[in-house]
Symmetry: C2
DNA sequence: CTGTTAGCGCCTTCAG
DNA sequence: CTGAAGGCGCTAACAG
């Protein structure tokens, strides 16, 4: 035996029939004698035959493999999205190959090439925080390979995408802080390269505006999401002549890092400073005090992204997004109120 | 154009040479005229040619794909291991396809079949907590496909594996509790199906024995790692006539869940009950009080597993582990002491 | 140094 | 209903 694996040829030989017939029997082609078919099926079963999807892909020019490209897998957010996506993909007979790049743009470009080289049938992407050049994604689209973005999208590119109502979520989060009496609300925002950053920041600004609270530019800082720097920015906030009485951050890790700094400064949360994060990571529930944050429907984001992708893959008419507007899905978030903004009853 | 992708044939045609020559030029075969080679390379570059690894695999009967099979990806443990493994694999020119199964035995079996069908060159596995039957893994070995276990291994099977010193880690964790004066130390253990459970439990028992503390069977419970049940077991412990003054758990999520129950009962950590977990999940640092726990070198576990696997893949002599003992690597752990056992200085 | 041929596993014509 | 032949993209063995 040359290979560890058995092929339709092995079956054909043992049954003294042609491999075409075996292939037909296996794929359920109608014109095969029932008896032949059952003999093939039986032997295949017995030999533990599994067809080689790679060879199939080569012959049919599709692989049934979907690439999922995310910036990281250490938080709970991306793994949950992946799980949701895989659920839908598996159901449809697709398998996923997951790539992560530790937020590195170069790794992202390499990974897209890798996925392309494996002739994936489609790609689901959340780009890195460094990504400002979208040529590699445009190339994918130009080649006619279905592409879906989630969470982090680009307005330069017309790509089907799944997002949450970042603007509204931020708006409501800040409004919550205003309702509990805060007036000097700081915002530690993400990098401008992320569209979410802009939307959440706008939500923040508009909430202040609605409630006639003047915007203090000193209270807004954009940063690159490297947690080590949070200390610097929070210290800066706290040392302002008029320090903030609340903080809204771009994500939960930032909020949690900030809480540590605030506590070390001897300030109390939420009494001196109320804190609100974003995403409802697992850790938001675990820190003490519990972190008020915006919950995202992560599994559903994954499922929707997969659905959008499958639509494009299976659609008979090729959707040309250089002409036609790409579909998008916007999912609802939910503000989870915990002790970092509102003291627990009876404590 | 029939395909979205360009092949060596396209290059060959444009250059009026044979595809073999193109292939040779591309793979760096020595006997190719330098000029021919450079013309090929140039055109390949210009056409953005990427060779199809699937076709390569078909021709060479290897895919350069490694399967990584883990029970879940929502904690920080498995993602870190995966990242470590991929680091080594990528360096060696291999790509990983990651499968997770949400601790379901059936999904695990399906996933191994999936990986086999893709003709992966090797598989790295941490099996589910439900796995008691290892036939599917044995089958992989019998087919001569390199296999490496990590974290969760089986003593029924002779498979190369990477583990940590579970026994010693548990021993030292419990000894730490004894040294801070605890005498009634409870142990919430994992299911018997996991070898780690047994080893950690033995470490627990031996530490007690060494310090001449009688073992109270009421203080040891094995459970199936479904967090919802932690409440029951902890309540049981607390309602014993002589409740424990310390708790050692099989992992961090269990410890954290337990801490919640303990606090709700109005008891103080560590004064009334000191708590030690296992693994040093991200959340161990975030909960309050910080959780004393055993840190595992997760990245290194992944790297070692990948190295072991690559050894088997590249070794010219086929290692037959039905005769020869499989290599194993045992890595050191480190006890991280936090406030769940020892009050912080100056607080 | 280069072209020809065959074959990896599978499907899909095209003839019977 | 079935077999033979061709091709997907690539490499390897064999001639030159």
């Amino acid at each position: 035996m040359k290979s560890k694996y058995i092929s339709i040829i092995d079956i054909a030989k043992q049954l003294h029939i042609s491999k075409s017939t075996v292939s037909r029997a296996l794929t359920g082609h109608p014109s095969v004698h029932p008896e032949t078919r059952s003999r093939v099926l039986e032997l295949a079963q017995k030999l533990d035959y599994q067809r080689n999807p790679l060879a199939l892909g080569l012959a049919r020019n599709n692989t049934n493999i979907i690439g999922i490209l995310v910036p990281e897998i250490m938080s709970t957010y991306f793994p949950s999205v992946i799980i949701g996506a895989q659920e839908v993909l598996h159901e449809a007979g697709y398998n996923a190959i997951i790539c992560h790049n530790n937020e590195s743009y170069n790794a992202e470009v390499l990974n897209t090439k890798l996925l392309l080289s494996y002739h994936v049938d489609g790609i689901i992407v959340s780009h890195t925080k460094e990504t400002r050049n979208f040529d590699h994604f445009q190339m994918i689209q130009r080649r006619g390979i279905p592409l879906v973005f989630f969470n982090r999208t680009s307005d330069e590119l017309n790509v089907p995408h799944v997002v949450v109502d970042d603007y509204e979520a931020a708006f409501r989060a800040v409004e919550h802080l205003i309702k509990i009496g805060r007036r000097r609300i700081a915002h530690l925002a993400g990098p401008d390269s992320l569209i979410n950053t802009k939307l959440r920041q706008q939500g923040y600004l508009d909430a202040l505006k609605k409630h006639k609270i003047p915007v203090d530019p000193d209270l807004v800082i954009s940063y690159d999401l490297t947690l080590e720097k949070v200390r610097i920015y929070i210290k800066h906030f706290l040392e302002l002549p008029q320090p903030p009485d609340a903080l809204f951050t771009i994500n939960d890790p930032t909020a949690i890092a900030a809480m540590e700094v605030i506590r070390q400064k001897g300030l109390s949360i939420p009494d001196d400073i109320a804190v609100v994060g974003f995403s409802n990571d697992l850790s938001a529930r675990l820190v003490s005090p519990g972190l008020t944050t915006v919950a995202q429907p992560t599994f559903e984001i994954g499922r929707e992204a997969a659905r959008l992708l499958l639509q494009d893959i299976t659609s008979t008419v090729k959707n040309d997004y250089s002409v036609k507007k790409a579909p998008s899905v916007m999912l609802k978030t939910k503000l989870i109120i915990r002790e970092s903004t509102v003291m627990k009853q009876g404590k």
